[in-house]
Symmetry: C2
Subunit: 190 residues, 2 copies
DNA sequence: TTTTGAAAGTGATCTAGGTCACGCGACCCC
DNA sequence: GGGGTCGCGTGACCTAGATCACTTTCAAAA
């Protein structure tokens, strides 16, 4: 399935677009390839795009004052990723985005998103629902962090995204869960 | 300022509506009053509405298996509150919503929101941005929880919402920060 | 006016998870 | 093919915050 089909199938789940409307929508995206380890957004950058993942796996993460990394999101195919705070508010990036594996993405600029949202009501509907889902998912994660211990959160993560186990090294899983790699290791090697 | 003016001013910040459009939009809201301690949404309820706060202060919270409360949100005037997961996915409530003080709200049903979003492009635009902001705020809170200690988070909270200090008892602040009330107390009484 | 109960402070003790230090195999890549 | 570094395990110790138990304060109910 090519890029266009993947995006079309994805959109069709929440919004109704005619073929012409979809073609027009699609014309605003730019296909891009990145290789393992490559940075897409770095702290301090002016953020102008969001990215729809076609293949591979990205991570968005924050580095705190003590140089510790906390992973906000693993982005798998059909997921969207960016520093949404910087993108929406047109401020400098505080979040980094890079590639865990080689990856193919479609990029869409902030200005173009707003333009097509204005032009096509259905597109605005789609983006409302995309954010609705992101909001609810982030809220669930916050609840999970506050109420569950590391082991439960680890198992919850693997149950929801089993594919991560093979693709993502344990130290990154630890950075997602917000624990040291030692603690994660000791969960199953006591 | 009456309910209608408060909502109108709030919407005007992100969407352009004619007076007739706003009147139509407003006609879908129902004004409701609640008193201190009263529950608006309880775990297990069918959730059909979201609430726009006109006056007073609400809290949305989760009770875990050990009967410990974790507060997701304090809802002050011009904030929106509900169990959005249950509302959007039409499932039973897992989140509770109740009143910290006497409160006046405008309620909007899920069905009506979807209906006016479809009818008025500007309203869909407004709700997209409302969720965008909620998403970014929740993501920031997640980052703060993972990267900062209790004292920093407490001071961050009070700096952002100084009014909470007078309205909300410390045990609820602790439940928002995700620490025991004893630990919060000890921060400033060592 | 008395009673009750929520909010808050505080001491003693416990524990999940952090930190530091070291070892060991695997896979890049000059 | 040998040196580097990355992922991962593991032991020894440390600390933020939890838990439990008791006390004080103060305001609302009766």
């Amino acid at each position: 399935m090519d890029a266009k089909e993947i995006l079309k199938t994805h959109i069709a789940k929440t919004a109704v677009l005619t073929d012409e409307q979809f073609d027009y929508f699609f014309s605003h995206f730019k296909s891009q390839s990145f290789h393992k380890g490559q940075a897409i957004i770095s702290k301090g950058d002016q953020v102008e795009h969001e990215y729809f993942v076609l293949s591979g796996c990205l991570k968005s993460f924050f580095i705190n004052d003590e140089q510790k990394m906390f992973i906000l999101q693993f982005a798998m195919p059909t997921w969207w990723a960016s520093d949404f705070n910087a993108l929406y508010n047109q401020t400098k990036a505080t979040i980094n985005l890079d590639c865990i594996t080689d990856a193919q993405v479609l990029s869409l600029s902030n200005a173009d998103r707003e333009k097509i949202c204005k032009e096509l009501h259905s597109v605005e509907h789609f983006f409302r629902w995309r954010t609705n889902k992101g909001f609810v998912a982030t809220q669930k994660r916050l609840l999970s962090v506050m109420n569950n211990n590391v082991k439960d959160r680890y198992e919850e993560l693997l149950k929801q995204y089993p594919e991560l186990y093979n693709i993502v090294p344990k130290n990154l899983i630890a950075a997602y869960l917000g624990v040291s790699r030692e603690t994660l290791s000791r969960l199953y090697h006591p």
